[in-house]
């Protein structure tokens, strides 16, 4: 996905003089050809993440459409107040593009893990969040996001589904178990493990790469009594949105995602998926337990 971002962003810089890229050394070598062609619009501030976002805010104040890019924990967590003040409070916006996702570089340890990114941006108003599930989803998402005006976050990962699913961000039914069936909503790269997890179960599966704004109309149309969220970042991040969307209906919600506890373990992304119960077997265990708990109707 990172390569798809770099290739598409390089094209956008050539096509649209309103665009600018701000880097903090991450991916700077890959953007070197673009930087040679557009030295005033490809800016590497060095390892300075506060300035990364502050510069994006300043560029936006002059009318440019900045795209700021770094590793997720540095881009969103370290520079959170800059995101809040230098963008939102100024009434301007930028596109933030992260790599690393929750635990892509698990062996690097806690410093490089960023499962709180979407929850943090969720504390600020108006953000669109895209979590593509496949590299081929990235170019169209990036183009549409840059062409728009609002604040947006693209969360890129090395984890991915087997194939791309292009749509407008609305919930897309991938597997239909019929009216009233439990609904599982899988975000981004967790679609394939979720599909594998519910094989043989009467569960409808819907996909989205755009958890914000969440497709609440689609959710209301698809949801019965049981709703299962499967998100590749902090568990429960979208629970508030789903709860509000279904507030007028009796429902049960199972919110799966990355746990909050610091594991202090290295290993691979696959290991962390397993430890957080986000591989197919772990998801199956959680779904089985959730559905088994449905009280039998008298």
């Amino acid at each position: 996905m990172r390569e798809a971002f770099i290739d598409t962003m390089t094209e956008l810089l050539a096509e649209d003089p309103r665009t600018a890229v701000v880097l903090a050394d991450i991916s700077a070598a890959s953007f070197a050809p673009a930087a040679r062609r557009h030295p005033d619009r490809v800016l590497n501030v060095g390892i300075r993440e506060q300035l990364l976002v502050g510069v994006a805010g300043g560029l936006a104040l002059t009318g440019l459409r900045p795209v700021a890019h770094s590793y997720a924990p540095f881009l969103v967590e370290r520079a959170y107040e800059q995101i809040k003040l230098d963008l939102g409070h100024q009434g301007v916006s930028a596109v933030l593009v992260s790599v690393g996702a929750s635990y892509d570089r698990a062996a690097a340890g806690r410093t490089h893990l960023g499962p709180a990114d979407v929850a943090l941006l969720d504390t600020l108003p108006g953000w669109t969040v895209h979590v593509p599930g496949h590299r081929d989803e990235v170019p169209a998402l990036l183009r549409a996001t840059v062409a728009a005006d609002g604040p947006a976050y693209l969360r890129l990962s090395t984890q991915h589904n087997d194939r791309a699913r292009s749509n407008d961000g609305a919930l897309q039914v991938v597997r239909d178990a019929g009216p009233g069936a439990p609904l599982l909503v899988a975000v981004g790269p967790l679609l394939d493990p979720a599909l594998a997890a519910v094989a043989g179960l009467p569960v409808t599966v819907a996909y989205t790469h755009r958890p914000r704004p969440f497709d609440t109309a689609g959710l209301r149309a698809l949801a019965g009594t049981e709703v299962i969220l499967v998100e590749p970042y902090l568990a429960g991040t979208s629970a508030r949105v789903v709860g509000a969307a279904l507030a007028d209906r009796p429902h049960r919600l199972l919110a799966l995602g990355v746990g909050r506890e610091e594991l202090r373990r290295y290993g691979s992304a696959e290991d962390h998926s397993r430890w957080h119960g986000l591989d197919a077997a772990g998801l199956r265990r959680s779904v089985d337990a959730f559905l088994a708990a449905v009280p039998a109707l008298a």
């Binding site: 600018a20 619009r41 800016l43 060095g46 300035l51 300043g58 003040l85 230098d86």
Partner: protein, 230 residues
């Protein structure tokens, strides 16, 4: 478009009293008045009619807590109605204890939280350059204690290394940094490749010379020292 009319100190003082409404102001407010007057009287190419002109100079007040003098000056120059000063901080007011760019004409950034103005100023200067707008200059007013924030160190180092000529920082040095800066605030900029001038923050002629003393090749800092404890 340069404004050359000197602000009448008596008028400014009366406007400040109107904003003050019986409250006490600290040195952080009074110490900025001279710099603001020199900027708006003699340096900045901006008027109430050009607040949206893309080729206007930008003035970014980073030390947003020192806002009362700023509001008084904006009223004196006609950017905002004088009547707004009477309700500063009130429930229907557009003038908060920190300025909001979306509520106050002529205000370039919403500030208050320290350490944000210089980064935004760097981005503004870069954005102007990227669009071929080489006329406007970007001025950012900071406090010496505000320089303690690490975000400013990031901006100082980067602007110096990239020779960001369109940027001028003004450090109002009223000795409020808890641990001080040995060698003076200017040294922190010059070691990063900026040009610098340190002047008496009350001396309008010295301030004017310093504020227009950039060499058009490097970023420039003016350290305005105010030591009379007012």
């Amino acid at each position: 478009m340069t404004t050359t009319t000197a602000t009448d100190p008596a008028v400014l003082g009366a406007l400040l009293d109107r904003t003050r409404a019986g409250r006490e102001f600290g040195p952080n407010v009074y110490s900025t008045l001279d710099v603001l007057q020199v900027l708006y009287d003699r340096v900045l190419r901006i008027t109430p009619e050009t607040v949206d002109d893309p080729d206007r100079d930008r003035f970014l007040l980073s030390k947003g807590h020192a806002v009362a003098g700023y509001y008084a000056l904006l009223a004196a120059k006609g950017f905002i109605p004088v009547a707004w000063l009477d309700d500063q901080g009130g429930p229907e007011s557009r003038l908060g204890d920190h300025p909001d760019r979306l509520l106050v004409p002529g205000v370039e950034i919403g500030s208050g939280s320290l350490g944000h103005g210089l980064g935004l100023g760097v981005g503004t200067a870069l954005g102007l350059r990227a669009q071929g707008r080489l006329t406007p200059r970007v001025y950012v007013l900071l406090g010496d204690a505000e320089l303690d924030e690490g975000s400013n160190h990031e901006a100082i180092a980067y602007a110096g290394a990239t020779e960001l000529a369109g940027l001028t920082a003004i450090v109002l040095d009223n000795r409020s940094a808890s641990h001080g800066w040995p060698g003076g605030a200017a040294s922190r900029f010059t070691v990063n490749g900026w040009t610098a001038a340190t002047v008496d923050g009350r001396d309008h002629e010295a301030l004017h010379t310093a504020l227009t003393g950039h060499d058009n090749h490097r970023p420039h800092v003016v350290v305005a020292v105010v030591t009379d404890g007012e």
